[in-house]
């Protein structure tokens, strides 16, 4: 599936929730369910420093596609990461570079993209794109 198709799928899922509580409960459950990153990659150099919660990201190239794994010490942040990974992992670098992130807004999580939330999420998206740019350069 393309990034856009996955994003639309996520938007559809979230459209079924009636209120913030259901949305957040779903994200929390996503956060709980996913063992996101191999412990060996939870190193200081892989930390994206948000002010309050830590976020680790690791990237690997497999068959010209980037595999992302990530984690956070805060569960809501982890849930959002799970959503981002679902949309951006296992995709070609160029598609990741070109992808927009409007779907976060559309699933009612816009507030988490504000830099003032200081949850490292904005930095995280930037980091995913940076990895994509780096791998794209290798491919060229």
């Amino acid at each position: 599936m393309s990034i856009e198709e996955i994003q639309n799928e996520i938007i559809d899922e979230f459209s079924m929730f009636e209120d913030w509580e259901e949305r957040y409960q779903y994200m929390i459950d996503l956060g709980k369910d996913l063992p996101l990153i191999d412990d060996q990659y939870k190193t200081d150099s892989n930390i994206i420093k948000g002010c309050q919660s830590k976020v680790w990201v690791h990237a690997e190239m497999k068959d010209d596609k980037i595999q992302f794994t990530a984690d956070s010490d805060a569960i809501i942040t982890k849930g959002i990461i799970a959503i981002l990974i679902r949309a951006f992992s296992n995709q070609h670098p160029k598609d990741i570079i070109d992808a927009d992130t409007d779907f976060i807004d559309k699933i009612g999580l816009k507030e988490h993209l504000s830099p003032t939330r200081a949850n490292g999420l904005v930095s995280m998206i930037k980091q995913l794109k940076m990895y994509a740019i780096a791998y794209q350069t290798q491919l060229n």
């Binding site: 509580e21 957040y24 929390i28 309050q52 010490d73 805060a74 569960i75 809501i76």
Partner: protein
């Protein structure tokens, strides 16, 4: 007035009347009535202070201390009257011992910078383990500039300073001691009387960071014998971007100016500039005039209610909040000193404070989460941060009930 004895506080202090002074308390957040428990970061502004700000810009806005025209003179009068109010509030001996600054951080940096020329290698500076980053970093920078060494008063599990250890740190090499009156992360009230007395015995100067004490306590700088006392207006119902430095005249005369510019000079030629007298020596450039005037109005507002009344009511909230929160299983409070202001720093077992803060915000409840710019304290407890609820005199027990319900809901959703 003996006939008043036996009357309980609630009869003299009507919180519902007080709340009417604060327009912001009537707004909604995420569709819920706002419960504002982030008072230790910024207190809310009563309409009496908002009116002063509007009045200033509507009627007096002009530059001060130099214009011959009426507006400038009236604005100057208001600004200087405010300095007088601050002097009276803190009981400073002289008016010129009150320096307007942009806030506590500015005040601390002004003093730290001034001491650069007064310190040498081998000198020692003492700070406490309970400090805000703004009372750690400027002194580290001062040490780097001068070769002086930084010593730290340790804390115990209750979040109190180890006073015996402090006494042992003092020596003839100690030149400066910096301690907050009240810890911002935990609310501990530190025994600054003792700290100041002991420091003076070895000839060291003491700076007290009053950012967290001033909303709850009316400090008497002469009775305390503090050499420097600093605070910010936005902690005491005033606007942001303005604060004050109290310094004993003898110290302020010794310190060189912090910034060069207009206002702080007596005479300027290209060969030499002579500096203005106190307090203007430290007030380079056009100050936050409106903020300075509103700062005085904010102190007027709080004094009209009375700090004893405020402290008694906030203590009631603290006791109530502590008991209600502790009834939640798995909730741990950090900072359990008997001497505390109305601040409760806590965590839910196994749950990140950020997650709890996010859910509480969804419920319209404003708390602070994180390390509260006091990372050494969080490292001490080996936690990433806490959830901090800080109560003010305009908060109610019903709001605390809302917080408790919110924390329970967060716990249910997150565990």
């Amino acid at each position: 007035m003996p006939f008043l004895s036996g009357l309980d506080l609630s009869a003299m202090f009507n919180v519902e009347d007080i709340r009417k002074d604060f327009p912001i308390l009537y707004r909604k957040v995420n569709g819920k009535p706002l419960v504002y428990f982030d008072n230790a970061a910024t207190s809310q502004t009563p309409k009496q202070v908002i009116d002063v700000i509007v009045d200033y810009y509507s009627n007096y806005n002009a530059n001060i201390h130099r214009g011959v025209h009426t507006l400038s003179q009236e604005a100057t009068d208001l600004y200087e009257q405010s300095r007088k109010k601050i002097q009276t509030h803190f009981n400073a001996k002289f008016l010129h011992e009150i320096i307007f600054t942009s806030g506590t951080t500015h005040s601390i940096n002004l003093v730290a910078n001034g001491f650069t020329s007064l310190l040498k290698k081998g000198d020692e500076i003492i700070v406490s383990a309970l400090e805000h980053h703004s009372n750690i970093v400027p002194w580290q920078m001062l040490c780097e500039r001068t070769g002086a060494t930084l010593k730290v008063i340790p804390m115990n599990l209750e979040g109190e300073l180890e006073i015996e250890a402090y006494n042992n740190l003092l020596s003839k090499n100690t030149k400066l001691v910096f301690v907050n009156h009240v810890s911002n992360a935990l609310g501990t009230v530190n025994p600054i009387e003792h700290i100041i007395d002991e420091a003076h015995k070895v000839g060291a100067a003491v700076l007290i960071d009053g950012a967290q004490s001033c909303p709850h306590i009316k400090p008497d700088v002469q009775a305390l014998d503090a050499d420097f006392y600093v605070t910010s207006a936005h902690k005491v119902c005033g606007p942001t971007g303005v604060g004050m430095l109290y310094g004993k005249e003898s110290w302020l005369k010794k310190l060189p100016p912090y910034q060069g510019g207009g206002e702080m000079i007596a005479e300027v030629t290209f060969e030499k500039t002579t500096y203005a007298d106190l307090p203007h020596k430290f007030e380079a450039g056009t100050p936050n005039i409106c903020g300075g005037i509103a700062f005085g109005a904010a102190l007027d507002y709080m004094n009209a209610i009375g700090f004893d009344t405020i402290a008694a009511y906030e203590n009631e909230l603290l006791e109530y909040g502590t008991a209600q929160l502790l009834a939640i299983e798995g909730l741990k409070i950090y900072g359990t000193s008997k001497h505390k202001t109305s601040v409760i720093s806590f965590n839910l077992e196994g749950i990140h404070p950020y997650d709890v803060g996010t859910i509480l915000d969804k419920l319209g409840i404003a708390v602070r989460t994180g390390h509260h710019c006091a990372q050494p304290i969080m490292d001490f407890y080996k936690i990433p941060g806490t959830i901090r609820a800080s109560f003010s005199f305009y908060n109610t027990k019903a709001e605390i009930d809302a917080l408790v319900e919110g924390v329970k809901k967060a716990k249910m959703m997150l565990s």
